[in-house]
């Protein structure tokens, strides 16, 4: 690699980078454990909600299973925080990485999808659905995109290792 880009120089000049760098032997595995706990919470709560909206386990009133979502949000926050630590420790490993870029894209689409769900009539419509009721196509599409994006984020996360830039050791 020729020259370190200004943004990367900035990340590497922060106290956070120094903190991760110095404490990496114990901090990195600890953050990975938290990251995996977070992804399980996210997949287990948001995933089950999406599957119900898509038509599996229709006996569940959607608004009742939506009560699990705050736990998924908790898992997501845990993963954003640990993700920031990973990135500040080795920014080049994630930035110059097709899997990392695709992961960011999937997260952005998932984010827009969440805005579409809570910012439109989809959310109040979902709350009115009775046990056994089939969700309208529009809400099913949002649930399908959500499920696909989070699985995509997971695939890309796992694939980061094999798409690291060649200069990374």
């Amino acid at each position: 690699m020729d020259e370190i880009a200004p943004w990367e120089q900035f990340v590497r000049s922060t106290a956070l980078h120094h903190f991760v760098y110095v404490n990496e032997p114990w901090l990195w595995p600890t953050c990975e454990i938290l990251h995996y706990l977070g992804l399980s919470l996210l997949l287990g709560t948001v995933g089950l909600f999406d599957l119900r909206v898509l038509g599996l386990a229709k006996g569940i009133p959607p608004r009742a299973i939506h009560r699990l979502i705050p736990w998924g949000v908790g898992g997501y926050i845990l993963n954003v925080l640990t993700g920031i630590l990973f990135f500040s420790g080795h920014p080049d490993q994630y930035f110059y990485n097709d899997a990392g870029r695709l992961k960011a894209l999937f997260m952005a689409i998932a984010g827009i999808n969440i805005l579409l769900f809570y910012g439109t009539t989809a959310f109040p419509e979902m709350k009115k659905l009775a046990p056994g009721a089939d969700a309208p196509m529009r809400i099913k599409a949002i649930a399908g995109i959500s499920l696909a994006m989070w699985v995509g984020v997971l695939i890309c996360g796992r694939m980061l290792t094999w798409f690291r830039p060649p200069f990374f050791h």
Partner: protein, 169 residues
């Protein structure tokens, strides 16, 4: 034992798993991660419901999620065996591997117990969330957290050597 490990490690299948194919180790471990996240996450979500979160979810209505959870377990058993074939010495000589295996057995046994006992009682109109059953849910949650810790640390125990800490192997 050494002869057996050498035999497995020298097999064509083992060498393919460790090789350069993106369909080999990267795909195997990605499937393992997705299914772990879904199984541990969905089981934990059901545990949280048993412990009183989202009481609007009828317990027996959670049943349709079970076939998917068993499918995730089947994929993880298969991908787990493949990863052991790929790195038999690294896994089978590490005490942590056997701890993880025991935690898998515990987690899956609790999924079975909760799946049959609790959900069937709910279906029959009996009281499903007794104090004993709540302990099963607590054990299940603790089991998944421990499993994720053990699973993540498996990837690090060989690296401790590089840091001057005696490896577990």
């Amino acid at each position: 034992m050494d002869a057996f490990l050498a035999f497995v490690e020298g097999s064509d299948l083992s060498m393919w798993i460790r090789g350069d194919s993106m369909l080999a180790f990267p795909t195997i471990i990605t499937l393992h991660t997705i299914c772990m996240g879904f199984l541990a996450g969905a089981s934990s979500a059901i545990d949280l419901r048993i412990l009183g979160l989202a009481p609007g979810i009828p317990l027996d209505s959670l049943r349709p999620f079970y076939p998917l959870m068993w499918l995730a377990f089947a994929i993880n058993a298969a991908t787990g065996v493949l990863m052991v074939i790929g790195y038999p010495t690294k896994q089978l000589t590490n005490p942590l591997f056997y701890i993880k295996l025991s935690l898998v057995a515990l987690g899956v046994w609790l999924v079975y117990r909760i799946g049959t006992e609790v959900l069937r009682a709910a279906e029959l109109g009996q009281k499903a969330t007794t104090a004993r059953v709540k302990w099963l849910a607590v054990a299940s949650l603790a089991g998944w957290v421990s499993l994720i810790i053990a699973g993540r640390l498996l990837e690090y125990t060989h690296r401790w050597e590089l840091l001057g800490i005696r490896a577990l192997t």
